[in-house]
Amino acid sequence: MDDREKLNRLRWRCTRRAMLEMDLLLGEFLERVYPTLSPAQADAFVTMADMEDLELWPLVNGQREPDDPVQAEVLSLLRNVRVK
């Protein structure tokens, strides 16, 4: 898969989710923050985007913390996303 294909697949998985909250947040993150991530962070984000919403949501709203330090970095950026 080339980069465009990978990015589009990620876009689909970020914006066709079970919960509206997650569509909005991950969609916004993908456009604005994802391009600035390090390769390791980008990989961590892809893994997180593959999580189910009810796994990811408690991480995003701070009810849980991830074990993986790179995921924690990405998460702190994700928590700061504002959708308006």
Binding site: E5, R16, R17, A18, L20, E21, K84
Partner: protein, 594 residues
């Protein structure tokens, strides 16, 4: 002779949609040994059913006395007597059975001390024919939909259901006689277009809440099943009926629970007035959903909305103790910060009435068969869940009745397919020569379009038009204007242009194809709403007010009937509401008051 062809795969049954209704139907079919394919735009457990938290209703009577007949009464009343009473009786009688079955599939319901399924009260569900609230909702903490999907998915894996994930169905295949022979679908990963040729086709594609600018629905709810049915010449039923939730975050649509007003939240207009005191002097901000929504829209329409465009009101909890907010309303602060950009401890939350649920859909009978204008089943075609209109929700759905609808009619449609196969009613018929033409023409148009409109702009225009002209409170002139505007949007949609023409993972193409479905739903909604000159359930018109002759503006003499919108010529016809239940007496027309 086929003009254009695509690869063909053959199945006994093809189910489009892997939410609660599709997965429930698939269990029946796969366990009966039928070769069953389930297509989904996303991995099954990412379907929108996950978002349902409240619960699923069934008169189990685990906590107090209950009866399916009471449930039936509540559902008929909730529907404002537009629901079909045969289907409503069927659903309410079947409820205990399908919920217990789900338990056996491994659903982790909350339990009472004795180990029975725990039940709690939910709006509109009463005992003894409307006397007092009853505990009828079964839940698995606040993740009922999620738990339900997982239980159903596991059962399907066991039964060898074949899943086609990240596939988008594009069109129905119908032959000259009108029989449905499958669907044409697109695999996102390859861009390949394939015909799924089947004896039976079941639509379980969910709702279309994205036709509104402000919607609680996830982006996936683009009404694909409705678009496909309409393009194949099948009329859509009761599309004017959409349920709105009063407090969605303005812009984002994310739901703010009723609990916020329960804890003392106050709605205010641009003059900082607590306007609900004028509309509901007693209940104030805690009046019922429809009363609050209408009051909010009236404030906005009369120029007392807030913000630069004066298009929202404010939900104020700044007077509450921050400790109370954090303790009693968990998550609300995070949601407000992330989706409204404000901290509700310091500033009020911008809110608007927000589209939540579609009562109308593809017309079916209580067996899950899709029916034509003459109420006769369309051979080979079945539907269940939010895409379908059985009609159990009529003009207004009761909370927790949708998850029930998925289970009951998902199962019923599967059983009916099996019956129809056994009786020889359906079988694998030859594909018509032009089976792929219409779809390929649509794809070709997209690939070659130049100088066309952007998909995003068209979608936004569509959503804004629906929100403004056909929202929670409806006005004659706005509706008339809305019909004209939607026709304009439709012209632009027919000319959308995408820059990316590649095959593999072309999400721009997929979004353009979703828009083709949204426009059908939007037009059906606007045209049906403009025509219905009464208020009933969720369809409330300013020019059909509450009078002694027509309480709540409901005009049974002229409008106690189902709407059918036909895509061809955007024509409307009507059919009677089925008032005769299967075994009990008719629940006679009455004014709906709580």
């Amino acid at each position: 002779m086929s003009k254009l062809s695509v690869p063909v795969r053959k199945f006994d049954a093809v189910i489009v949609g892997a939410g609660g209704s599709g997965l429930r139907a698939a269990i029946q079919l796969s366990e009966a040994g039928l070769k069953t394919a389930v297509l989904s735009k996303v991995f099954p457990t990412r379907s929108h059913t996950v978002a349902a938290q409240g619960g699923v209703s069934a008169s189990l009577g685990n906590s107090e006395e209950d009866h399916w007949h009471w449930h039936m009464y509540d559902t008929v009343k909730g529907s404002d007597w537009l629901g079909d009473q045969d289907a409503i009786e069927y659903m309410c009688r079947k409820a205990p059975e399908v919920v217990v079955e789900l338990e056996h599939f491994g659903m982790p319901f909350d339990r009472t001390d004795e180990g029975k399924i725990y039940q709690r009260p939910f709006g509109g569900h009463m005992s003894n024919f409307g006397e007092k609230p009853v505990r009828r909702a079964c839940a698995a903490a606040d993740r009922t939909g999620h738990a339900m999907l997982h239980a159903l998915y596991q059962r399907n894996v066991r039964a060898n259901t074949q899943f086609f994930v990240e596939w988008m169905a594009l069109d129905l295949i119908r032959d000259q006689s009108g029989q449905v022979l499958g669907v044409i679908a697109l695999e996102m990963e390859t861009g390949e277009v394939v015909a799924f040729h089947s004896k039976a086709t079941v639509f379980a594609t969910g709702g279309a809440g994205r036709i509104y600018y402000s919607s609680t629905n996830a982006f996936i709810n683009t009404g694909d099943g409705l678009g496909m049915a309409a393009r194949a010449g099948i009329a859509l039923e009761d599309m004017e009926f959409w349920q709105f939730h009063p407090t969605g975050v303005a812009g984002a649509g994310v739901l703010i629970t009723e609990g916020v007003r329960g804890e003392g939240g106050i709605l205010r207009n641009s003059t900082n007035e607590r306007f609900m005191e004028r509309y509901a002097p007693n209940a104030k901000d805690l009046a019922s959903r429809d009363v609050v929504s209408r009051a909010m829209v009236t404030e906005i329409n009369e120029g007392r909305g807030c913000g630069p465009n004066k298009d929202f009101v404010l939900l104020d909890i700044t007077h509450l103790d921050p400790a109370t907010i954090m303790k009693r309303l968990p998550g609300i602060r995070e949601i407000s910060i992330q989706f409204a950009g404000i901290d509700p401890i310091k500033a009020p939350i911008p809110v608007v009435p927000t589209c939540h649920y579609q009562m109308g859909g593809v017309p079916t009978n209580y067996k899950g068969q899709v029916v034509g204008d003459d109420a006769a089943p369309i051979r080979g075609f079945y539907a269940a869940g939010e895409v379908a209109c059985a009609s159990v929700h009529g003009a207004n759905r009761l909370g927790t009745n949708s998850l029930l609808d998925l289970l009951v009619f998902g199962k019923a449609s599967g059983d009916t397919v099996i019956d129809d196969l056994r009786s020889g009613e359906i079988g694998l018929k030859e594909l018509p020569a032009d089976y792929a033409d219409r779809t390929l023409a649509r794809l070709h148009r997209l690939n070659t379009q130049t100088g066309g409109a952007s998909v995003n702009e068209c979608r936004l225009e569509l959503q804004r038009t629906m929100q403004k002209h056909c929202g929670v409170f409806r006005f004659k002139d706005m509706l008339v204007e809305g019909v004209a505007k939607i026709v304009e949007v439709e012209k632009a949609v027919a000319q959308t242009e995408i820059k990316d023409k590649s095959q593999v993972w072309n999400t721009a193409r997929v979004e353009a194809l979703e828009l083709d479905n949204l426009i059908e739903v939007a037009k059906a909604t606007m045209v049906s709403a403009e025509a219905r000159k009464e208020s009933r359930g969720a369809h409330v018109r300013d020019d059909a007010p509450d009078t002694p002759a027509n309480p709540n503006g409901r005009d049974d003499l002229n409008w106690h009937k189902h709407t059918l919108w036909h895509r061809d010529g955007s024509r409307l016809s009507y059919k009677p509401v089925i008032m005769k239940p299967l075994s009990v007496e008719t629940i006679a027309l009455k004014t709906r008051s709580y």
